[in-house]
Protein backbone atom coordinates (compact mmCIF):
# COMPACT_ATOMS: atom_id res chain seq x y z
CA UNK A 1 0.00 0.00 0.00
CA UNK A 2 1.54 3.34 -0.99
CA UNK A 3 1.34 6.39 1.25
CA UNK A 4 -1.51 7.98 -0.67
CA UNK A 5 -3.59 4.83 -0.11
CA UNK A 6 -2.62 4.75 3.59
CA UNK A 7 -3.67 8.38 4.07
CA UNK A 8 -6.88 7.97 2.07
CA UNK A 9 -7.76 4.92 4.15
CA UNK A 10 -7.13 6.95 7.31
CA UNK A 11 -9.57 9.59 6.05
CA UNK A 12 -12.24 6.96 5.40
CA UNK A 13 -11.72 5.46 8.85
CA UNK A 14 -12.07 8.95 10.36
CA UNK A 15 -15.33 9.50 8.46
CA UNK A 16 -16.68 6.22 9.79
CA UNK A 17 -15.69 7.01 13.37
CA UNK A 18 -17.14 10.53 13.19
CA UNK A 19 -20.40 9.08 11.78
CA UNK A 20 -20.04 11.29 8.72
CA UNK A 21 -20.77 8.21 6.61
CA UNK A 22 -24.23 8.17 8.13
CA UNK A 23 -25.33 11.76 8.44
CA UNK A 24 -24.06 13.22 5.15
CA UNK A 25 -25.79 10.65 2.89
CA UNK A 26 -28.93 11.00 5.04
CA UNK A 27 -28.92 14.77 4.55
CA UNK A 28 -28.66 14.37 0.77
CA UNK A 29 -31.35 11.69 0.74
CA UNK A 30 -33.59 14.08 2.67
CA UNK A 31 -32.81 16.91 0.25
CA UNK A 32 -33.39 14.56 -2.68
CA UNK A 33 -36.82 13.56 -1.37
CA UNK A 34 -37.86 17.10 -0.47
CA UNK A 35 -38.08 18.58 -3.98
CA UNK A 36 -40.32 15.97 -5.68
CA UNK A 37 -42.54 15.55 -2.62
CA UNK A 38 -43.02 19.28 -2.07
CA UNK A 39 -43.58 19.86 -5.79
CA UNK A 40 -46.16 17.11 -5.94
CA UNK A 41 -48.04 18.02 -2.80
CA UNK A 42 -47.67 21.80 -3.02
CA UNK A 43 -51.27 22.40 -4.18
CA UNK A 44 -52.58 20.24 -1.33
CA UNK A 45 -50.26 21.91 1.17
CA UNK A 46 -51.36 25.39 0.10
CA UNK A 47 -54.97 24.38 0.22
CA UNK A 48 -54.63 22.84 3.68
CA UNK A 49 -52.74 25.81 5.11
CA UNK A 50 -54.52 28.73 3.51
CA UNK A 51 -57.80 27.24 2.54
CA UNK A 52 -57.05 28.19 -1.01
CA UNK A 53 -58.97 31.47 -0.73
CA UNK A 54 -57.47 34.20 -2.88
CA UNK A 55 -54.77 31.92 -4.27
CA UNK A 56 -54.77 30.85 -7.85
CA UNK A 57 -53.07 27.50 -8.28
CA UNK A 58 -51.68 27.00 -11.73
CA UNK A 59 -53.09 23.65 -12.87
CA UNK A 60 -50.01 23.05 -15.01
CA UNK A 61 -47.92 22.73 -11.82
CA UNK A 62 -49.16 19.25 -11.31
CA UNK A 63 -48.11 18.39 -14.83
CA UNK A 64 -44.41 19.08 -14.30
CA UNK A 65 -42.16 16.66 -16.12
CA UNK A 66 -39.88 14.37 -14.18
CA UNK A 67 -36.72 15.91 -15.65
CA UNK A 68 -37.79 19.40 -14.52
CA UNK A 69 -38.39 18.27 -10.96
CA UNK A 70 -35.07 16.41 -10.85
CA UNK A 71 -33.34 19.53 -12.21
CA UNK A 72 -34.96 21.52 -9.40
CA UNK A 73 -33.49 19.06 -6.91
CA UNK A 74 -30.03 19.97 -8.20
CA UNK A 75 -30.69 23.70 -8.62
CA UNK A 76 -32.73 24.36 -5.50
CA UNK A 77 -31.85 21.78 -2.88
CA UNK A 78 -28.31 20.57 -3.64
CA UNK A 79 -26.98 23.93 -4.87
CA UNK A 80 -28.12 25.81 -1.79
CA UNK A 81 -28.46 23.80 1.40
CA UNK A 82 -26.45 20.92 -0.07
CA UNK A 83 -23.44 23.09 -0.91
CA UNK A 84 -23.52 24.69 2.55
CA UNK A 85 -23.62 21.28 4.21
CA UNK A 86 -20.68 20.02 2.13
CA UNK A 87 -18.70 23.11 3.15
CA UNK A 88 -19.56 22.71 6.84
CA UNK A 89 -18.61 19.03 6.72
CA UNK A 90 -15.25 19.87 5.14
CA UNK A 91 -14.24 23.19 6.68
CA UNK A 92 -11.87 21.52 9.16
CA UNK A 93 -10.40 19.07 6.66
CA UNK A 94 -6.89 20.60 6.84
CA UNK A 95 -7.50 23.34 9.44
CA UNK A 96 -8.03 20.84 12.27
CA UNK A 97 -4.84 18.99 11.30
CA UNK A 98 -2.96 22.30 11.44
CA UNK A 99 -4.53 23.29 14.77
CA UNK A 100 -3.77 20.07 16.62
CA UNK A 101 -0.30 19.52 15.15
CA UNK A 102 -1.32 16.48 13.12
CA UNK A 103 -0.22 18.06 9.85
CA UNK A 104 3.29 18.64 11.20
CA UNK A 105 3.32 15.12 12.64
CA UNK A 106 2.22 13.49 9.38
CA UNK A 107 4.63 15.49 7.25
CA UNK A 108 7.62 14.42 9.36
CA UNK A 109 6.82 10.86 8.19
CA UNK A 110 7.82 9.57 4.74
CA UNK A 111 4.90 11.40 3.15
CA UNK A 112 4.92 14.02 0.40
CA UNK A 113 2.67 17.07 0.54
CA UNK A 114 1.09 15.77 -2.67
CA UNK A 115 0.12 12.42 -1.09
CA UNK A 116 -1.29 14.21 1.93
CA UNK A 117 -3.45 16.58 -0.16
CA UNK A 118 -4.55 13.96 -2.67
CA UNK A 119 -5.44 11.60 0.18
CA UNK A 120 -7.64 14.33 1.66
CA UNK A 121 -9.27 15.53 -1.56
CA UNK A 122 -9.85 12.18 -3.26
CA UNK A 123 -11.25 10.42 -0.18
CA UNK A 124 -13.52 13.35 0.69
CA UNK A 125 -14.58 13.80 -2.91
CA UNK A 126 -15.45 10.13 -3.35
CA UNK A 127 -17.48 10.21 -0.18
CA UNK A 128 -19.29 13.48 -0.97
CA UNK A 129 -19.90 12.34 -4.56
CA UNK A 130 -21.44 9.08 -3.31
CA UNK A 131 -23.65 11.02 -0.88
CA UNK A 132 -24.80 13.39 -3.64
CA UNK A 133 -25.36 10.49 -6.05
CA UNK A 134 -27.39 8.66 -3.42
CA UNK A 135 -29.60 11.69 -2.77
CA UNK A 136 -29.96 12.20 -6.53
CA UNK A 137 -30.92 8.54 -7.05
CA UNK A 138 -33.55 8.70 -4.30
CA UNK A 139 -34.87 11.92 -5.82
CA UNK A 140 -35.03 10.17 -9.19
CA UNK A 141 -37.06 7.29 -7.72
CA UNK A 142 -39.55 9.74 -6.18
CA UNK A 143 -39.71 11.69 -9.44
CA UNK A 144 -40.47 8.53 -11.42
CA UNK A 145 -43.09 7.52 -8.86
CA UNK A 146 -44.79 10.92 -8.52
CA UNK A 147 -44.16 12.47 -11.94
CA UNK A 148 -42.84 11.11 -15.23
CA UNK A 149 -39.85 8.98 -16.02
CA UNK A 150 -36.43 10.49 -16.86
CA UNK A 151 -34.23 9.11 -19.60
CA UNK A 152 -31.52 7.02 -17.95
CA UNK A 153 -28.77 8.39 -20.22
CA UNK A 154 -29.74 11.96 -19.34
CA UNK A 155 -29.80 11.00 -15.68
CA UNK A 156 -26.21 9.75 -15.79
CA UNK A 157 -24.84 12.58 -17.95
CA UNK A 158 -26.45 15.18 -15.66
CA UNK A 159 -24.98 13.47 -12.60
CA UNK A 160 -21.50 13.40 -14.13
CA UNK A 161 -21.75 17.10 -15.00
CA UNK A 162 -22.94 17.91 -11.51
CA UNK A 163 -20.13 15.91 -9.89
CA UNK A 164 -17.58 18.10 -11.69
CA UNK A 165 -19.05 21.10 -9.85
CA UNK A 166 -18.88 19.08 -6.62
CA UNK A 167 -15.20 18.33 -7.32
CA UNK A 168 -14.48 22.03 -7.46
CA UNK A 169 -16.45 22.62 -4.23
CA UNK A 170 -14.38 19.97 -2.42
CA UNK A 171 -11.01 21.22 -3.70
CA UNK A 172 -11.88 24.88 -3.08
CA UNK A 173 -13.00 24.21 0.49
CA UNK A 174 -9.80 22.20 1.09
CA UNK A 175 -7.72 25.12 -0.19
CA UNK A 176 -9.52 27.63 2.06
CA UNK A 177 -9.19 25.23 4.98
CA UNK A 178 -5.43 25.14 4.34
CA UNK A 179 -4.99 28.89 4.07
CA UNK A 180 -7.13 30.09 6.98
CA UNK A 181 -7.07 29.07 10.63
CA UNK A 182 -10.59 29.87 11.79
CA UNK A 183 -13.39 27.48 10.88
CA UNK A 184 -15.89 30.36 10.87
CA UNK A 185 -13.84 32.29 8.33
CA UNK A 186 -13.34 29.15 6.23
CA UNK A 187 -17.10 28.49 6.16
CA UNK A 188 -17.94 32.13 5.44
CA UNK A 189 -15.47 32.54 2.57
CA UNK A 190 -16.37 29.18 1.03
CA UNK A 191 -20.12 29.71 1.26
CA UNK A 192 -20.03 33.29 -0.08
CA UNK A 193 -17.66 32.42 -2.94
CA UNK A 194 -19.27 29.15 -4.02
CA UNK A 195 -22.86 30.38 -3.76
CA UNK A 196 -21.70 33.54 -5.52
CA UNK A 197 -20.35 31.39 -8.36
CA UNK A 198 -23.69 29.62 -8.56
CA UNK A 199 -25.75 32.83 -8.48
CA UNK A 200 -23.91 34.44 -11.39
CA UNK A 201 -24.45 31.44 -13.64
CA UNK A 202 -26.49 32.52 -16.67
CA UNK A 203 -25.62 36.22 -16.39
CA UNK A 204 -23.07 36.08 -19.22
CA UNK A 205 -22.09 33.26 -21.59
CA UNK A 206 -18.46 34.38 -21.35
CA UNK A 207 -18.41 34.11 -17.56
CA UNK A 208 -20.25 30.79 -17.77
CA UNK A 209 -17.40 29.39 -19.86
CA UNK A 210 -14.94 29.94 -17.01
CA UNK A 211 -17.33 29.39 -14.11
CA UNK A 212 -17.17 25.88 -12.60
CA UNK A 213 -20.70 26.37 -11.25
CA UNK A 214 -21.99 26.41 -14.83
CA UNK A 215 -21.73 22.61 -14.72
CA UNK A 216 -24.73 22.65 -12.43
CA UNK A 217 -26.69 24.63 -15.05
CA UNK A 218 -25.56 22.24 -17.79
CA UNK A 219 -26.68 19.28 -15.67
CA UNK A 220 -30.11 20.89 -15.23
CA UNK A 221 -30.36 21.58 -18.97
CA UNK A 222 -29.68 17.93 -19.76
CA UNK A 223 -32.50 16.89 -17.45
CA UNK A 224 -34.97 19.50 -18.71
CA UNK A 225 -34.18 19.56 -22.45
CA UNK A 226 -32.66 16.12 -22.92
CA UNK A 227 -29.72 17.59 -24.87
CA UNK A 228 -26.17 18.54 -23.94
CA UNK A 229 -25.29 22.20 -24.41
CA UNK A 230 -22.27 22.60 -26.68
CA UNK A 231 -20.79 25.03 -24.13
CA UNK A 232 -20.74 22.28 -21.50
CA UNK A 233 -17.29 21.19 -22.60
CA UNK A 234 -15.92 24.64 -21.70
CA UNK A 235 -17.63 24.51 -18.33
CA UNK A 236 -16.15 21.06 -17.72
CA UNK A 237 -12.66 22.21 -18.70
CA UNK A 238 -13.05 25.30 -16.50
CA UNK A 239 -14.13 23.16 -13.52
CA UNK A 240 -11.15 20.83 -13.98
CA UNK A 241 -8.73 23.73 -14.51
CA UNK A 242 -9.94 25.62 -11.42
CA UNK A 243 -9.76 22.40 -9.41
CA UNK A 244 -6.14 21.95 -10.51
CA UNK A 245 -5.41 25.57 -9.53
CA UNK A 246 -6.87 25.11 -6.03
CA UNK A 247 -4.88 21.89 -5.53
CA UNK A 248 -1.72 23.64 -6.70
CA UNK A 249 -2.27 26.55 -4.30
CA UNK A 250 -2.94 24.11 -1.44
CA UNK A 251 0.27 22.25 -2.25
CA UNK A 252 2.37 25.41 -2.47
CA UNK A 253 0.85 26.82 0.72
CA UNK A 254 1.69 23.72 2.76
CA UNK A 255 5.14 23.32 1.17
CA UNK A 256 6.28 26.93 1.45
CA UNK A 257 4.33 28.41 4.30
CA UNK A 258 4.98 25.31 6.39
CA UNK A 259 2.32 24.36 8.85
CA UNK A 260 2.91 25.74 12.29
CA UNK A 261 2.60 29.50 11.86
CA UNK A 262 6.32 30.05 12.20
Amino acid sequence: MNNFAVLAKKEFVQMVREFKVIWLPLVFIFLGITQPVVSYYLPSILEALGGGQGITIDPSMAAQKGGEVLASTLGSQFDQLGVMIIIVSMMGVVQSDKANGMLAFILTRPVTVGSYISGKIISNYLFVACSVALGYLVSYLYVVFLFTSVDFGDLIVALLFYLLWILFIVSFTTMISTVFNSQGIIALISIVFLLGCRIIVGLSPVIDNVNPASMSKHAMEVLILGTVNSQAVWGALAALAWTAVTILITNIWISKKKFNNE
Binding site: N3, K10, F105, P110, T112, N260
Partner: protein
Amino acid sequence: MITLLSITDLEKSYSAKKILNGVNLEIKKGETLGFIGANGAGKTTTLNIITGILDSENGKVEINGLTKEDGIEYKKQFFFIPDTINVFNNVSGFDWIRFLMNLYGNDDKERLGKYINRFGMQESIKKPMGSYSYGMMHKVSLIAAFTINPPIIIMDEPLNGLDPNAVLVFKGLIKQYVEMGGTVFFSTHLLDVAEKICNTVAILKEGKIILHDEIQNIIGESSLESTFMEAQVYEGKTSVN
Protein backbone atom coordinates in the same frame (compact mmCIF):
# COMPACT_ATOMS: atom_id res chain seq x y z
CA MET B 1 32.59 5.60 13.76
CA ILE B 2 30.42 6.70 10.85
CA THR B 3 28.67 10.05 11.17
CA LEU B 4 24.94 9.45 10.88
CA LEU B 5 23.57 12.93 11.47
CA SER B 6 25.45 16.15 10.93
CA ILE B 7 24.30 19.68 11.59
CA THR B 8 26.38 22.53 10.23
CA ASP B 9 26.07 26.23 11.12
CA LEU B 10 22.36 26.11 11.80
CA GLU B 11 20.77 29.53 12.28
CA LYS B 12 17.20 30.42 13.00
CA SER B 13 15.40 33.57 14.19
CA TYR B 14 11.86 34.30 15.28
CA SER B 15 11.08 37.91 14.44
CA ALA B 16 14.22 39.73 15.57
CA LYS B 17 15.28 37.16 18.15
CA LYS B 18 18.02 34.75 17.20
CA ILE B 19 17.10 31.29 18.49
CA LEU B 20 19.88 29.25 16.89
CA ASN B 21 23.20 30.96 16.45
CA GLY B 22 25.33 28.58 14.41
CA VAL B 23 24.65 25.12 15.82
CA ASN B 24 27.17 22.45 14.83
CA LEU B 25 26.71 18.87 15.89
CA GLU B 26 27.63 15.40 14.72
CA ILE B 27 26.00 12.19 15.86
CA LYS B 28 27.84 8.96 15.15
CA LYS B 29 26.13 5.68 14.37
CA GLY B 30 25.43 3.79 17.57
CA GLU B 31 25.40 6.88 19.79
CA THR B 32 22.76 7.84 22.29
CA LEU B 33 23.03 11.60 22.40
CA GLY B 34 21.25 13.60 25.07
CA PHE B 35 20.46 17.13 23.97
CA ILE B 36 20.33 19.29 27.05
CA GLY B 37 19.51 22.92 27.56
CA ALA B 38 17.44 25.35 29.56
CA ASN B 39 13.95 26.34 28.41
CA GLY B 40 14.23 28.51 25.31
CA ALA B 41 17.76 27.37 24.52
CA GLY B 42 16.62 26.17 21.08
CA LYS B 43 16.38 22.39 21.56
CA THR B 44 12.91 21.97 20.05
CA THR B 45 13.70 24.41 17.24
CA THR B 46 16.79 22.36 16.35
CA LEU B 47 14.77 19.13 16.33
CA ASN B 48 12.03 20.79 14.27
CA ILE B 49 14.58 21.91 11.68
CA ILE B 50 16.12 18.43 11.49
CA THR B 51 12.71 16.84 10.97
CA GLY B 52 11.59 19.41 8.39
CA ILE B 53 8.85 21.07 10.41
CA LEU B 54 10.83 24.31 10.23
CA ASP B 55 13.32 25.69 7.74
CA SER B 56 16.55 27.27 8.91
CA GLU B 57 17.87 30.57 7.62
CA ASN B 58 21.36 29.14 7.26
CA GLY B 59 23.07 25.85 7.73
CA LYS B 60 22.73 22.28 6.61
CA VAL B 61 21.38 19.05 8.03
CA GLU B 62 22.39 15.64 6.70
CA ILE B 63 21.26 12.20 7.79
CA ASN B 64 23.13 9.27 6.24
CA GLY B 65 24.34 11.66 3.57
CA LEU B 66 20.81 12.70 2.64
CA THR B 67 19.37 16.20 2.95
CA LYS B 68 15.77 17.44 3.14
CA GLU B 69 15.86 17.94 -0.61
CA ASP B 70 15.94 14.13 -0.92
CA GLY B 71 12.32 14.13 0.30
CA ILE B 72 10.88 10.79 1.36
CA GLU B 73 14.26 9.03 1.42
CA TYR B 74 15.47 11.62 3.96
CA LYS B 75 12.33 11.21 6.07
CA LYS B 76 12.76 7.44 6.11
CA GLN B 77 16.06 7.88 7.97
CA PHE B 78 14.41 8.92 11.23
CA PHE B 79 11.35 8.50 13.40
CA PHE B 80 10.44 11.67 15.25
CA ILE B 81 8.50 11.68 18.51
CA PRO B 82 7.42 15.26 19.27
CA ASP B 83 6.96 16.68 22.74
CA THR B 84 3.24 17.15 22.28
CA ILE B 85 1.59 14.08 20.86
CA ASN B 86 -1.67 14.74 19.07
CA VAL B 87 -3.68 11.76 18.03
CA PHE B 88 -7.19 10.98 16.89
CA ASN B 89 -9.05 10.31 20.12
CA ASN B 90 -11.30 7.65 18.66
CA VAL B 91 -8.48 5.60 17.14
CA SER B 92 -6.92 2.76 19.12
CA GLY B 93 -3.21 2.72 19.91
CA PHE B 94 -2.87 -0.43 17.83
CA ASP B 95 -4.50 1.15 14.75
CA TRP B 96 -2.39 4.26 15.19
CA ILE B 97 0.85 2.24 15.24
CA ARG B 98 -0.27 0.20 12.24
CA PHE B 99 -1.03 3.44 10.40
CA LEU B 100 2.49 4.74 11.13
CA MET B 101 4.04 1.39 10.16
CA ASN B 102 2.21 1.53 6.83
CA LEU B 103 3.61 5.00 6.16
CA TYR B 104 7.12 3.59 6.63
CA GLY B 105 6.29 0.48 4.59
CA ASN B 106 6.84 -1.73 7.66
CA ASP B 107 4.67 -4.77 8.29
CA ASP B 108 6.58 -6.55 11.06
CA LYS B 109 3.66 -7.67 13.25
CA GLU B 110 5.86 -9.98 15.29
CA ARG B 111 8.16 -7.15 16.29
CA LEU B 112 5.14 -4.97 17.08
CA GLY B 113 3.72 -7.65 19.38
CA LYS B 114 7.07 -7.95 21.13
CA TYR B 115 7.25 -4.24 21.97
CA ILE B 116 3.60 -4.06 23.01
CA ASN B 117 4.42 -6.76 25.56
CA ARG B 118 7.65 -5.07 26.66
CA PHE B 119 5.76 -1.87 27.49
CA GLY B 120 2.91 -3.78 29.17
CA MET B 121 0.32 -2.37 26.79
CA GLN B 122 -1.39 -5.67 25.90
CA GLU B 123 -4.71 -4.63 27.46
CA SER B 124 -4.82 -0.94 26.59
CA ILE B 125 -3.41 -1.03 23.05
CA LYS B 126 -6.85 -1.76 21.58
CA LYS B 127 -8.59 1.01 23.51
CA PRO B 128 -9.26 4.45 21.97
CA MET B 129 -6.32 6.80 22.44
CA GLY B 130 -8.66 9.43 23.85
CA SER B 131 -8.71 7.37 27.04
CA TYR B 132 -4.88 7.29 27.30
CA SER B 133 -2.77 9.27 29.73
CA TYR B 134 0.10 11.37 28.40
CA GLY B 135 2.56 8.67 29.41
CA MET B 136 0.59 5.97 27.61
CA MET B 137 0.62 8.05 24.43
CA HIS B 138 4.40 8.31 24.73
CA LYS B 139 4.60 4.56 25.17
CA VAL B 140 2.59 4.07 21.98
CA SER B 141 4.97 6.38 20.08
CA LEU B 142 7.96 4.51 21.47
CA ILE B 143 6.46 1.16 20.46
CA ALA B 144 5.96 2.55 16.95
CA ALA B 145 9.53 3.88 16.83
CA PHE B 146 11.14 0.64 18.00
CA THR B 147 8.96 -1.45 15.69
CA ILE B 148 9.65 0.70 12.62
CA ASN B 149 13.35 0.62 13.49
CA PRO B 150 14.74 3.54 11.44
CA PRO B 151 18.48 4.41 11.41
CA ILE B 152 17.89 7.13 14.04
CA ILE B 153 15.14 7.87 16.51
CA ILE B 154 14.74 11.56 17.34
CA MET B 155 12.71 12.46 20.42
CA ASP B 156 11.71 15.70 22.06
CA GLU B 157 11.43 15.17 25.83
CA PRO B 158 10.55 11.46 25.52
CA LEU B 159 10.60 10.85 29.26
CA ASN B 160 7.89 13.37 30.09
CA GLY B 161 4.91 11.70 31.69
CA LEU B 162 6.42 8.21 31.81
CA ASP B 163 5.96 6.28 35.03
CA PRO B 164 9.11 4.87 36.74
CA ASN B 165 8.45 1.45 35.31
CA ALA B 166 8.17 2.82 31.77
CA VAL B 167 11.37 4.83 32.29
CA LEU B 168 13.15 1.60 33.20
CA VAL B 169 11.73 -0.15 30.13
CA PHE B 170 12.68 2.87 28.03
CA LYS B 171 16.27 2.78 29.28
CA GLY B 172 16.54 -0.93 28.62
CA LEU B 173 15.10 -0.64 25.12
CA ILE B 174 17.27 2.31 24.19
CA LYS B 175 20.37 0.34 25.19
CA GLN B 176 19.15 -2.72 23.29
CA TYR B 177 18.27 -0.61 20.26
CA VAL B 178 21.72 1.00 20.21
CA GLU B 179 23.43 -2.39 20.64
CA MET B 180 21.56 -3.55 17.55
CA GLY B 181 23.04 -0.65 15.57
CA GLY B 182 20.41 2.01 16.17
CA THR B 183 21.12 5.63 17.01
CA VAL B 184 19.14 7.83 19.39
CA PHE B 185 19.01 11.61 19.67
CA PHE B 186 16.75 13.11 22.28
CA SER B 187 16.25 16.28 24.24
CA THR B 188 15.56 16.05 27.93
CA HIS B 189 15.42 17.95 31.19
CA LEU B 190 15.97 14.81 33.25
CA LEU B 191 19.73 14.94 33.75
CA ASP B 192 19.97 11.90 36.01
CA VAL B 193 18.25 9.71 33.42
CA ALA B 194 20.31 11.20 30.59
CA GLU B 195 23.45 10.41 32.58
CA LYS B 196 22.46 6.75 32.78
CA ILE B 197 21.21 6.32 29.20
CA CYS B 198 23.43 8.52 27.03
CA ASN B 199 26.96 7.85 25.94
CA THR B 200 27.25 11.39 24.53
CA VAL B 201 25.81 14.69 25.67
CA ALA B 202 25.46 18.06 23.99
CA ILE B 203 24.53 21.15 25.98
CA LEU B 204 22.83 23.99 24.16
CA LYS B 205 22.84 27.51 25.52
CA GLU B 206 21.34 30.54 23.80
CA GLY B 207 21.33 28.85 20.43
CA LYS B 208 24.90 27.57 20.53
CA ILE B 209 26.38 24.25 21.58
CA ILE B 210 28.70 24.97 24.46
CA LEU B 211 29.59 21.39 25.36
CA HIS B 212 29.61 18.21 23.31
CA ASP B 213 31.53 15.15 24.31
CA GLU B 214 31.25 11.63 25.64
CA ILE B 215 29.52 11.54 28.97
CA GLN B 216 32.56 10.25 30.87
CA ASN B 217 34.74 13.05 29.51
CA ILE B 218 32.14 15.62 30.50
CA ILE B 219 31.22 14.59 34.00
CA GLY B 220 34.47 12.99 35.17
CA GLU B 221 34.10 12.46 38.90
CA SER B 222 31.14 14.80 39.07
CA SER B 223 27.53 14.40 37.90
CA LEU B 224 25.79 15.63 34.76
CA GLU B 225 23.63 17.90 36.87
CA SER B 226 26.58 19.78 38.38
CA THR B 227 28.37 19.88 35.03
CA PHE B 228 25.26 21.31 33.42
CA MET B 229 24.93 23.96 36.11
CA GLU B 230 28.60 24.91 35.74
CA ALA B 231 28.33 25.01 31.97
CA GLN B 232 25.35 27.34 32.22
CA VAL B 233 27.51 29.72 34.24
CA TYR B 234 30.91 29.24 32.59
CA GLU B 235 30.11 28.93 28.96
CA GLY B 236 32.58 26.97 26.87
CA LYS B 237 34.34 25.22 29.77
CA THR B 238 35.19 22.17 27.71
CA SER B 239 33.45 23.06 24.54
CA VAL B 240 34.37 21.13 21.46
CA ASN B 241 32.21 23.29 19.26
